[in-house]
């Protein structure tokens, strides 16, 4: 008995249809996880088949925005992998301090947790005032939530721990006020942050930067799309600029392996050659 490949055909047609209609390009995403998420969406939208979902999505842009929530994995945490942030303090910040002004790019920022974490770190290191932060994603709803800066209170305890493990220099509660619907983070942290819609799959470089953090985005791409993203990072980073990836992401087997050197291998921090 062979697994039924009809599903795969339907999936490809759906993804192609989304690309043609909405210009979101998921054609080079890893198949297994994409399929899982689409199947998940089927039950949510009460569709029997992917073909049925495809027909509805093509005729209903509202439904497409809802499907996008399934396709993009809007899952994040503050100071996720605290040792990553610790390594930034130790190995990246001292170099960044030598620049009079800075531009950094957080690619695939999702609902903003990584942006707030980085802003807090930069503030504590005395860099925030001279830094412009570009925070980009393809999911407009996630970007809206990121702009609002309200995070679930029940997660704040974990974030506080991670903040401390990440070398936090003050008290985490200095950065938010508890409101009835969550922890509202200090708007002053976001003064120099620009949230923008930008796709690593279809858009171009928009600025020169000194540091790029792109975490847990590339795992969803196939090799060729990963190479496209690395190409953008390479082009955007200044000479000797820094690149940070997620804890299981690697440049090793990419076309750009020779264009970067590891700074802290375990934390996936690299430097452009």
């Amino acid at each position: 008995m062979c697994p039924d490949r009809t599903l795969d055909i339907e999936l490809r047609l759906l993804i192609e249809g989304i690309y043609l209609k909405y210009s979101y390009d998921f054609r080079d995403y890893s198949g297994a996880s994409l399929k899982r998420r689409v199947l998940h969406a089927l039950s949510k939208f009460e569709c029997e088949t992917i073909s049925e979902l495809q027909a509805r999505v093509l005729h209903d842009s509202q439904l497409f925005s809802e499907l996008l929530q399934f396709l993009t994995i809007p899952v994040s945490e503050m100071f996720r992998d605290p040792t990553y942030y610790l390594a930034i303090r130790e190995h990246v910040v001292p170099v960044l301090k030598t620049y009079p002004s800075l531009k950094i790019w957080i690619a695939g920022c999702s609902t903003g947790e990584e942006v707030y974490s980085m802003a807090i770190l930069f503030k504590e290191e005395g860099l925030l005032d001279r830094t412009l932060i570009y925070a980009t994603d393809i999911n407009p709803q996630s970007l809206d939530r990121a702009r609002r800066g309200v995070f679930p209170l029940e997660r704040v305890r974990t974030y506080t721990q991670s903040y401390q493990q990440a070398g936090g220099k003050s008290s985490f509660s200095d950065y938010y006020t508890a409101a009835y619907d969550g922890a509202l983070f200090d708007k002053a942290l976001m003064t120099n942050v620009t949230f923008a819609d930008h796709s690593l799959a279809t858009d171009m470089v928009f600025s020169e930067t000194q540091f790029i953090s792109c975490r847990n985005v590339l795992i969803y791409f196939n090799k060729s799309l990963q190479n496209r993203a690395f190409g953008l990072f390479h082009e955007s980073l200044c000479h000797r600029g820094f690149l940070g990836l997620g804890s299981k992401e690697s440049l090793d087997f990419s076309a750009y392996a020779g264009h970067f050197e590891p700074v802290v291998k375990k934390e996936r921090l690299f430097r452009r050659l």
Partner: protein, 203 residues
């Protein structure tokens, strides 16, 4: 229930191309017994999800590398599956198998409070290998893996559940048995014999 010799026969008939294993509470111990004595030239890749606390580095690969002859490693994103190699899922990430038989990781929501989730691995593996897959579900305190093992069963793969009577925590095997009737319900030692014999059978 079939006898062990039938199992080996059946395994050989089916041309198993990969083995996936899921375990939770009590899993380390069970897995040690399950994998002992597999020879270096074992012809199949083995992919394992054991539930572990997130946010810590996994020592699993280290622990098992010292005990086993086959190659042992933590699964890397995009790496191709090799025979005679045991891959462990990393804490905090789901592990999936792609159609081109490479591994991929995902950080989406937990399934049954677990990331990595056994269901996620099993379902993606079933989709790739169909009847050429062997799935093994061991001891554990939650229901992760039951639906995944059923998915393997439904796409014609071979399914083995650890005998709940000997499992340290029987919840997980029992959850599978509630969902469907697997090919085999065996103590871990017998599953081990089966895997070793399978290799000799292929030689």
């Amino acid at each position: 229930m079939k006898q062990e010799s039938d199992t080996v026969f059946s395994l050989a008939q089916r041309q198993i191309e990969a083995i996936v294993i899921g375990a939770s509470a009590g899993g380390l111990q069970a897995l040690s017994v399950l994998l002992v004595g597999l020879p270096k030239n074992f012809p199949l890749p083995i992919v394992v999800v054991i539930h572990m606390p997130e946010g810590k580095d996994s020592k699993l690969a280290e622990i098992f590398r010292a005990r086993l002859e086959i190659d042992v490693k933590e699964a890397d994103e995009k790496e191709p599956l090799h025979p005679g190699t045991l891959y462990f899922a990393s804490p905090g990430y789901h592990l999936l198998i792609e159609q081109d038989r490479t591994l991929s990781l995902s950080r989406e929501e937990r399934v049954h409070f677990s990331r990595p989730s056994i269901d996620v691995l099993f379902e993606s593996a079933a989709d790739v290998f169909g009847e050429h897959l062997c799935g093994v579900l061991l001891t554990g305190a939650n229901e992760d893996g039951a639906a995944g093992l059923r998915a393997i069963h439904r796409s014609g793969g071979m399914t083995i559940v650890q005998d709940p009577a000997e499992a340290l925590v029987p919840t997980m095997p029992e959850a599978a048995l509630k969902l469907f009737t697997p090919d085999f319900v065996l103590p871990v030692r017998d599953i081990n014999t089966l895997l070793v014999e399978l290799e000799q059978n292929n030689a």
